[in-house]
Amino acid sequence: MSDVRQPALAVEGLTTEFRIEGRWHAAIRDVSFSVARNETLALVGESGCGKSITALSIMGLVPKANGRIAAGRVLLEGRDLTELDEAEMETVRGRAISMIFQEPMTSLNPVLSIGFQVEETLRYHTSLSNREARERALALLEHVKIPSAARRFDDYPHHFSGGMRQRVMIAMALACSPQIILADEPTTALDVTIQAQVLALLAELKAETGMAMIFITHNLGIVASIADRVAVMYAGDIIETASVEALFDHPMHPYTEALLSSIPRVDRDAGELKPIAGQVPPITAMPAGCRYADRCPLRVARCATMPPLVPLAGDRAHQVRCWVRAGDGGQTP
């Protein structure tokens, strides 16, 4: 994918902190990436690496009681969303940026009909009359392939299966044709066959509308099938970003490598699976240098200081945060 396109969304140096026992700790640190129209960026990493916090920070939904965006900008067509107050943010959410959540079973309001919940997005972002909003909501439900949508419009979430609820979520997120959609593990809670259907639906809708998508997942199989570019996160840092092909063919960061070799594959013995030894450092005790150093087989003395995210000489779109692998322009394998 080319870099010259105007990004739909650019995140620059985003740092989000949480207060734990009176002290602020960064959950994500200096996160930067951009996503262009009609492009899907996959944000990959294990649980707790900061993928969802990144998404919530973009949406301005970090809980205010104990969380804050400490630094960085979120640029939507040049406008910095972190500068907006709550009322202004309400006009952005659902209209310019939408989000799909992981848990379809709990993400819909149980006491409101699904038709109403889809309609509601339109109500606050468009000047449609009630009747028009209802018609448009019905069209959306049909579009995401809810069977007999007209008859089920006034049904409640508990009448629907997980897969169907996720379709309703997607209809809600798409209601105002947003430029960007954040999908936070939208298929993790679903059965495998339903997963495939929902992924196909998302890909189809993206192609149709030309929106940009940030797809958060820990499932590298999904990344291969849906993403154009990938950003790998580890302990709150982006440690590698590349096109899907480059990442799967030549992973540079030792963590990415380890991640790829920990996927079970049909053509290999389970004995060849390599779990990554050690664990992610806790948020309250992050090392000053490379956060993967403790688990890294390539560790050198220099890893005690934080490496920058640098482009490789051969492929400028492929960036890696590792002294060993990028120290000499990524020439040493």
Binding site: A87, E90, N109
Partner: protein, 313 residues
């Protein structure tokens, strides 16, 4: 919804029959022969037998029971032993006062308690939240008769804003209102404390739910998120407490009516106790049971109104 209503109504019927049965046997099991109460300790065997016959107490228990059930279900509660007037008309005289007091207290409780609880939840661990929690703790710890006496001392005796004896003069609607204020505040403030507490904790739970985040991610304004998305879900425990507390409220209204010297069911029940008006007590127990069954029915119907998942059951 209609099927749900019909189902609830059908469930209420056996409940009511069971309650009536308990009342009947409870009164029969209680020690003391009503004939002695009517005639005194020195009454002759003949006189007692005559009273037994008059009251139908000489008949077999089952016959008495069936007779009791059929008269009660026809709406006939019998005669007072003391005043010899129909119990129903005695009750009808004072019932409006108790209903007026209880409902006003209920309205005060919900109208103040609900927004207060919601505000406390939204501003958790801020000054407003602490103030609301201290207030609710005070409200819950004061027995109704203590707060009643304190209100009387302050507003009726010291400040003379309201009458000490809360009896309305006939044909003077304003006196009826001013007689209602202090007793209603007394019961209402306790209700505020209950409702506020439950609304706060239930709201706190709901505000952390995924669907609240979903609503916010759609750009739904904060006000609407609170009042439509959160409250719809937070209301069930509040309705439960209001329903349960209505029972407590009726109990508390007994004490409140006595302290404020106000007519009502509570005063009637205490007077009948003092005069050992045994048929009146039986009648009042039926009335109270009936009220509680109706309140429970209304609570159930409100659940159905709020939660579509309940309607389906």
């Amino acid at each position: 919804m209609l099927t749900y209503i019909v189902k609830r109504l059908l469930v209420a019927v056996p409940t009511l029959l069971a309650v009536l049965t308990v009342v009947f046997f409870f009164v029969r099991i209680a020690p003391g022969d009503p004939a002695f109460i009517i005639l005194g300790d020195q009454a002759s065997q003949q006189a007692i037998a005559a009273v037994h016959q008059e009251l139908g107490l000489d008949r077999p228990m089952l016959v008495q029971y069936l007779d009791f059930m059929s008269t009660v279900l026809r709406g006939d509660l019998g005669m007072s032993l003391v005043t010899h007037r129909p119990i129903w008309s005695e009750v009808a005289n004072v019932l409006p006062y108790t209903i007026e007091l209880t409902l006003t207290a209920l309205v005060i409780g919900v109208v103040l308690g609900l927004p207060l609880g919601i505000a406390a939840a939204r501003h958790r661990n801020e000054a407003l939240d602490y103030a609301a929690r201290v207030f609710s703790l005070l409200g819950l710890s004061f027995p109704a008769f203590v707060s009643a006496i304190m209100l009387l001392l302050a507003f009726a005796i010291e400040l003379h804003w309201f009458p000490v004896i809360s009896e309305a003069r006939p044909g003077d609607p304003l006196s009826r209102v001013s007689a209602l204020v202090l007793p209603a505040i007394n019961l209402g403030l306790i209700m505020v404390a209950y409702v506020m507490r439950v609304a706060r904790s239930s709201m706190l739970g709901v505000l952390g739910e995924d669907y609240i985040r979903t609503a916010r991610s759609k750009g739904v304004p904060a006000r609407v998120v609170i009042w439509r998305h959160a409250l719809g879900n937070a209301l069930i425990p509040v309705v439960t407490v209001v329903g349960l507390y209505l029972g407590v409220l009726i109990g508390n209204s007994v004490l409140t009516e006595i302290v404020f010297n106000r007519p009502g069911l509570g005063k009637l029940i205490v007077n009948s106790l003092n005069q050992r008006d045994y048929t009146m007590l039986e009648g009042l127990m039926v009335i109270y049971a009936f009220i509680i069954v109706i309140v429970n029915l209304l609570t159930d119907l409100t659940y159905g109104l709020i939660d579509p998942r309940v309607r389906q059951r």
